[in-house]
């Protein structure tokens, strides 16, 4: 089969107030190929995809968009859908109150005279999920699913369209390794069917596993397009960040002090399933200046450990938690924060940010006491502090007064980090801290976390990225089914050992 050109974009320019997000971009997709799009946070990748999918309608950008050789002017998502374009957006866009099946068919319900064919919806969803190898109940409410599963629903939703052009904007950022394998396999199958795929991801191993071509964006411009065979990771990274990145995980020598946080026998029952536990007899300690990594598969209870200690899980729990020798049990996140805890959560939209608010207000939110005097917020102080962090973390934003919802996904994550760093915590909890963050910024974040540990903060980091866990942690504990199934020092920890412990169901 001769690959034909499904999609072409020429000279696309898109401006937002204060930012030129895209500056003369060209891009194309052939049938039966995966075209990976790489670039730093804020490079303009998602913006381009929103143009292709009609979310930014014709007229709000300049340049030409061609599907199958004919020029198109999409005015809405419906237009692009009927032209055969399907998209998985970077930020989850599901209705939590509706079921998996209802979400998958939202906006295009099979119907007769306006009446939904419920059985058809259910059956087609079951068939689709089975075809994809996703295990979930079509009639489960999406709000009851974990974020990884929600992302699978999102993918299924796009695939349900039977599209010719499939756009995936960081589809795997919340998936576990096995889920990613299933996902990649699905993409390979779609490729064989002639579907043209655009894949945006910050995980370069995925790019090289599946992409046929790679285009690199930098600062709103398409820098180069390679055949994937002809390049390696270093070259792509260098193009993305505009410089050579040598060492992602610099080993910093730190002095590790006495225990700061000691958790003993923490058990948390499942809120709805009687007799089942989210966490069972979990014990560990973190010392001053130490980075403790928590590895494990999705749903193994890693997030729950953090949430439970942080007082963010309602309901009963048993066991003891000690902070610097003092027994504590936080009933609310506020108490935890007052005692010097900070939590960078995995779902930044839901738990981390006030999207409508400005960058500076978000950064100051958890430390208003520090920013305010006699209960009155000192705006100029707030701005000054925010600007310090914007510089330190290289947050890409027009200024500190811009709304957070207008930042690119990765930069939003940096705002969350800044917010918690400002609280000057004793104990820092990180839950998937680099989800959706580009390599350059990742290296910066690792450096920041290392620096904080060096200053004596006890860090607990949950991550699905084994290289990150291995590269950063002084010690690693591994979770499986709500229990600790392994503990390794930095020298003992290897990928194989961690994976073995992570699948040790007892």
């Amino acid at each position: 089969m001769v690959a034909q050109q499904l999609l072409e974009l020429h000279d696309i320019v898109k401006e937002f107030p204060g930012v030129k997000a895209l500056d003369g971009v060209r891009f194309d997709v052939l049938s039966g190929e995966v075209h990976a799009l790489c670039g730093e946070n804020g490079a303009g990748k998602s913006t381009l995809m929103k143009i292709i999918s009609g979310l930014y309608p014709y007229g709000s950008y300049s340049g030409e968009l061609k599907v199958n050789g004919t020029s198109r002017k999409f005015l809405s998502i419906k237009d692009s859908q009927s032209a055969g374009v399907a998209i998985v957006f970077q930020e989850l866009s599901l209705v939590k109150e509706l079921t998996v099946a209802e979400n998958i068919f939202l906006g295009r319900e099979p119907s007769l005279f306006g009446i939904i064919q419920t059985t058809e919806v259910l059956m087609r969803t079951s068939a689709l999920l089975k075809d994809l190898g996703f295990h979930m109940d079509p009639s489960q409410k999406v709000g009851d699913l974990g974020i990884g599963q929600q992302q699978m629903v999102e993918i299924a939703k796009a695939l349900a369209l039977d599209a010719k052009i499939l756009i995936l904007d960081e589809p795997t950022s919340a998936l576990s390794d096995t889920e990613i394998e299933v996902f990649l396999e699905t993409i390979r199958r779609l490729k064989k069917r002639g579907v043209g795929c655009v894949l945006i991801t910050h995980k370069l191993n995925e790019v090289f596993a599946i992409a046929d071509r790679i285009t690199v964006f930098r600062d709103g411009k398409s820098v180069t397009t390679y055949n994937a065979k002809d390049v390696d990771e270093h070259k792509v990274i260098a193009d993305m960040v505009g410089r050579e990145l040598t060492d992602m995980y610099p080993r910093v020598s730190r002095t590790i002090g006495g225990p700061v946080l000691a958790v003993h026998d923490l058990t948390v029952p499942h809120p709805t399933v009687p007799g089942k536990n989210l966490l069972e007899h979990v014990s560990f300690t973190v010392r001053k200046g130490e980075i403790l990594g928590i590895a494990g598969l999705m749903g193994s209870g890693r997030t729950e450990i953090l949430m439970s200690i942080f007082g963010a899980l309602h309901g009963p729990r048993t066991g003891s938690i000690e902070l610097e020798g003092q027994s504590l049990a936080f009933a609310s996140p506020q108490e935890a924060i007052n005692h010097g805890f900070a939590l960078v959560s995995e779902d930044r939209k839901r738990l981390g940010l006030v999207l409508e608010d400005s960058v500076s207000r978000n950064i100051a939110l958890a430390s208003l006491k520090r920013v305010a005097r006699f209960g009155v917020v000192d705006d100029s102080n707030e701005n000054k502090i925010a600007n310090d962090y914007i510089d330190a973390l290289r947050i890409k934003t027009p200024n500190s007064a811009s709304q957070v919802k207008n930042l690119s996904g990765g930069n939003q994550q940096k705002v969350v980090l800044a917010k918690w760093m400002l609280t000057k915590p004793k104990v820092l909890f990180l839950d998937e801290p680099t989800r959706g963050i580009d390599v350059g910024a990742r290296a910066e974040i690792y450096k920041i976390v290392n620096d904080m540990a060096a200053k004596g903060v006890a860090v607990v980091m949950v991550s699905s990225e084994l290289p990150e866990v291995l590269g950063l942690s002084d010690r690693v504990i591994v979770m499986c089914g709500g229990r600790v199934t392994g503990e390794f020092s930095r020298d003992e920890a290897t990928q194989e050992r961690i994976m073995a412990a992570a699948t040790r169901f007892s």
């Binding site: 998502i77 109150e97 509706l98 306006g114 059985t119 259910l122 009639s139």
Partner: protein
């Protein structure tokens, strides 16, 4: 829907039913047995029809994340139009037609302002509440306009004959049973998970006994009142719209997450406008029933009706945050509200108590909701 959330939902309905029964028992006791007399129950159901009809439309509006505070005043205003036209010699049909067109037009304007111009529904309809109250007072010059004799009065005080009542009951049971059996067969044929034939049978039995009890109680007085029949038909129709149609699904999606609905290609503005148009239809019907019941239009009719309707929805489990709520729940809520009104009047409680008690029940219902949700998180 999976078992857990289904249980949670029917649990919600069950507590409502038990709360209602408890209220009824208390009133039965306080009123020395007057409350549960067929005559009083017939009255009670008749009285709830206006609130119930409005609550049905209000559910959809609230689920989509908006609110309509104008319905009380608009009901009054439409009643004025209806009676005045008939007073001028118009036939009942043409007067009602004009009333309907006015009702739809009013809600179309309010819906357009909300959906397309992005003026918050709270403000638009609060303004509507003032405007149409004022208009009613102005047009009537403060006097009551009697309703001319016509078939419209049927929806005030007429009753369905005994035989017709039994025939209807029988038909309802047959339809319900065959639908259930059909559904069961379908799910077995498609291998979609079911909880066995037992639960289907239990539902049929429960439904049948409920309907039979209702009809026999009503026929021990005069029979089923026409307005109640009308409300039931509307309830079933709107339940169908809410749960089975694309439009209904989109209403819930918009309320659950505007963003997600928009990204899925749902035309959010049309959905919101559609909601308001349906509300216009129901407001007209509400106006007709109210006018027929009091046989006149009065410039102060329908005061606080909008709040009763909202309260009914909320007591019935509708979330003011949007995305959640059922038609049946709202009707149950309306029944609770009206039972309180009726029972307390019957017990000769002073009217100030009625307000206080209704307020307490409203807060208690929502509080229970919030608490039960928190504990299941």
């Amino acid at each position: 829907m999976n078992l857990a959330s289904r249980l949670k939902q029917s649990w919600r309905m069950l507590t409502m039913v038990f709360a209602l029964i408890a209220i009824w028992i208390i009133f039965q006791w306080v009123t020395d047995g007057a409350f549960l007399q067929p005559r009083n129950l017939s009255n009670l159901f008749r009285q709830m029809t206006v609130t119930g009809t409005l609550a049905i439309g209000m559910v959809l509006i609230i689920v989509a994340g908006h609110i309509d505070l104008s319905v009380g005043s608009v009901v009054c205003f439409l009643g004025v139009i209806l009676t005045m036209l008939m007073q001028k010699g118009w036939s009942a049909e043409s007067a009602l037609m004009v009333t309907l067109v006015s009702g739809i037009a009013i809600s179309a304007v309010q819906g357009w302002l909300t959906a397309f111009q992005k003026v918050p529904a709270f403000i638009v309809t609060l303004a509507g509440m003032m405007i149409f109250r004022g208009a009613s007072m102005g047009v009537t010059e403060g006097v009551t306009i009697p309703l001319e004799d016509s078939w419209i009065k049927t929806f005030g005080s007429a009753y369905l004959g005994q035989e017709a009542g039994w025939v209807l009951t029988f038909v309802a049971i047959v339809i319900f049973a065959s639908l259930r059996v059909q559904k069961y067969r379908n799910s077995v044929a498609h291998g979609v998970s079911t909880s066995g034939f037992g639960s289907t049978l239990a539902m049929i039995v429960a439904f049948s006994s409920g309907v039979l009890l209702f009809n026999s109680t009503m026929s021990r007085y005069e029979g089923i009142p026409y307005p109640v029949l009308l409300m039931i038909v509307i309830m079933v129709a709107f339940h169908f719209i809410a749960t089975k149609t694309v439009f209904g699904r989109h209403v819930y999606a918009v309320g659950g997450s505007v963003e997600a609905a928009h990204l899925s290609g749902v035309n959010v503005r049309k959905i919101v406008l559609g909601n308001f148009l349906l509300m216009g239809l129901l407001t007209t019907i509400g106006a007709m029933i109210l006018t027929a019941r009091v046989e006149s239009a009065q410039p102060d009719a329908g005061q606080l009706l909008e709040l009763d309707a909202v309260a009914s929805c909320v007591i019935g489990g509708t979330s003011l945050m949007g995305g959640k709520g059922t038609i049946y729940g709202a009707i149950l809520g309306a029944l609770v509200m009206e039972s309180l009104n009726n029972g307390m009047s019957l017990a000769n409680l002073e009217s100030f108590w009625q307000y206080i008690v209704k307020g307490v029940v409203l807060v208690a219902a929502v509080w229970l909701d919030v608490v039960s949700q928190k504990s299941s998180r």
